[in-house]
């Protein structure tokens, strides 16, 4: 059974209907966020087929755990979905052993991190630059720059120390800078 929707579906209504396992609402929600979430997956996972698989698993988890979602205003659905998809990306990288995180105690200069070298690039250039990085560095820079997490949070999420997180970010930035020098 599918319910009729008016043109003014808000997230809260959609989520309520998704919680009732309504396929049309699920489709609507999927189509609303699939592209954004796919771009997110492509930031973490280089291979497009793998990224599609991660996206699918992410949405599956999202819909299967939707009962535990509590509405916190417009935007809360996307934020929750994003969190699930990021976790799915990390799980995928761990499963494929792409995320072997070893202690890294390189001395870094935090001032170097101030210049966000990815700013001012096109989307394609950003993706290309991210994909050129090793998985671990790419993951850390993704979490720091795009998910706007603090090193403390990244460390907790990846099971590394804060310094290791900072070090990975620093190394990633150095490589990106080298690579992007002709562009920026």
């Amino acid at each position: 059974m599918i319910f009729r929707f008016s043109g003014k579906d808000d997230e809260a209504t959609l989520m309520k209907q998704c919680q009732q396992n309504n396929a049309t609402a699920q489709e609507k929600l999927y189509k609303l966020y699939a592209e954004d979430m796919m771009i997110l997956c492509l930031r973490y996972v280089v291979n497009e087929e793998d990224a599609k698989e991660v996206l699918m698993d992410g949405f599956c988890n999202f819909f299967r755990n939707i009962d535990s979602f509590a509405w916190r205003g417009e935007g809360s659905v996307k934020a929750w979905l994003k969190k699930i998809v990021v976790n799915q990306c990390l799980m995928f990288l761990r499963k494929k052993n792409h995320l072997v995180l070893v202690g890294d105690t390189m001395v870094f200069d935090d001032r170097m991190a101030d210049a966000d070298i990815l700013s001012g690039l096109t989307a394609k250039e950003i993706m290309k630059a991210l994909h050129s990085l090793p998985d671990v560095w790419r993951t850390v820079i993704n979490l720091y720059v795009f998910e706007e997490m603090q090193h403390k949070e990244i460390a907790a999420l990846l099971g590394i120390t804060e310094n290791t997180s900072k070090s990975h970010l620093h190394r990633a930035r150095i490589q990106l800078k080298k690579q992007l020098l002709p562009i920026i």
């Binding site: 599918i2 009729r4 796919m38 699918m56 966000d116 690039l121 795009f146």
Partner: protein
């Protein structure tokens, strides 16, 4: 200068990954979220047994008819004769394999057939091809549903005939849909679908599609049912639920990876 986050937020996926098909990906996800029921080996075996019985019964009936042809020919009723002439297998199938809830009937027939032909006299091409063809349909709605397909058949030197085939599909059950005439045009005859009705049996509420209905015509729905490609269309809206409580809801027919689902 734009932040990388903003740049990616404002980018269309097609720019980064032109091959991504949102609809196709949704269908895959839908399959995972709402899997269609698997057919067990014993169900397949039962289906094969039913076909064997039907075929055997049909052969017996045909043989019996041919042997008793002259006797039947002298006691004609117009409708009876037409059925024999054009669709000899239909009564066989009805009497051997179908539950009483499924039926195929001829609604409108040739006005005055003067002679009776046996199935194998070679003058009519239809009988041998007039076999039932059906897609498996899964009813994902909570109520039993009856689907009736009315087809018009126009053959050379024959008045047009309308054939109605009905199937009842229970909730969460997959059944083969009865289709009186194959989807393709039978040799020398033209076939068109004039009406498809979908009835919610508990309430008697019926969605009727014909040549003019929107969002879908009867022919569009029929094409969706019988074609090999995936499709999805809204058939219409029921205004009450199985328990006759007012609860408007659309009925969608979706064909995904060979599975036809009523939602």
């Amino acid at each position: 200068m734009k932040k990388p986050n903003d740049i990616l937020d404002q980018t269309s996926l097609s720019e980064l990954m032109p091959g991504f098909d949102t609809n196709a990906e949704w269908l895959k996800l839908h399959q995972q979220l709402h899997p269609t029921k698997q057919t067990h080996w014993w169900q397949k075996a039962a289906a094969v047994a039913a076909i064997v019985v039907a075929t055997g019964g049909g052969a017996w009936w045909l043989q019996h008819e041919i042997m008793n042809g002259p006797q039947l020919a002298i006691a004609p009723t117009t409708q009876h004769n037409w059925v024999r002439d054009v669709a000899p297998e239909i009564p066989t199938a009805t009497t051997t394999t179908e539950t009483p809830r499924d039926r195929i009937e001829v609604l409108k027939t040739a006005s005055a057939p003067t002679t009776r032909h046996t199935a194998n006299d070679g003058k009519h091409d239809l009988p041998g091809q007039m076999k039932r063809e059906g897609e498996f349909v899964c009813n994902s709605t909570p109520c039993p549903i009856e689907i009736c397909i009315t087809q018009n058949l126009q053959c050379p030197n024959q008045d047009p005939a309308a054939i109605k085939s009905c199937s009842v599909v229970d909730p969460d059950q997959a059944r083969q849909l009865k289709i009186g005439v194959p989807s393709r045009t039978v040799r020398n005859c033209r076939m068109s679908v004039s009406e498809i009705s979908i009835e919610r049996i508990a309430t008697g509420e019926m969605i009727v599609l014909n040549e003019q209905t929107r969002p879908a015509t009867a022919q569009e729905l029929f094409n969706c049912i019988t074609s090999d490609t995936d499709c999805s269309l809204m058939a219409g809206m029921f205004t009450t639920d199985c328990d006759k409580k007012k609860k408007p809801g659309n009925l969608r027919i979706q064909k995904d990876a060979g599975s036809l689902i009523l939602e």
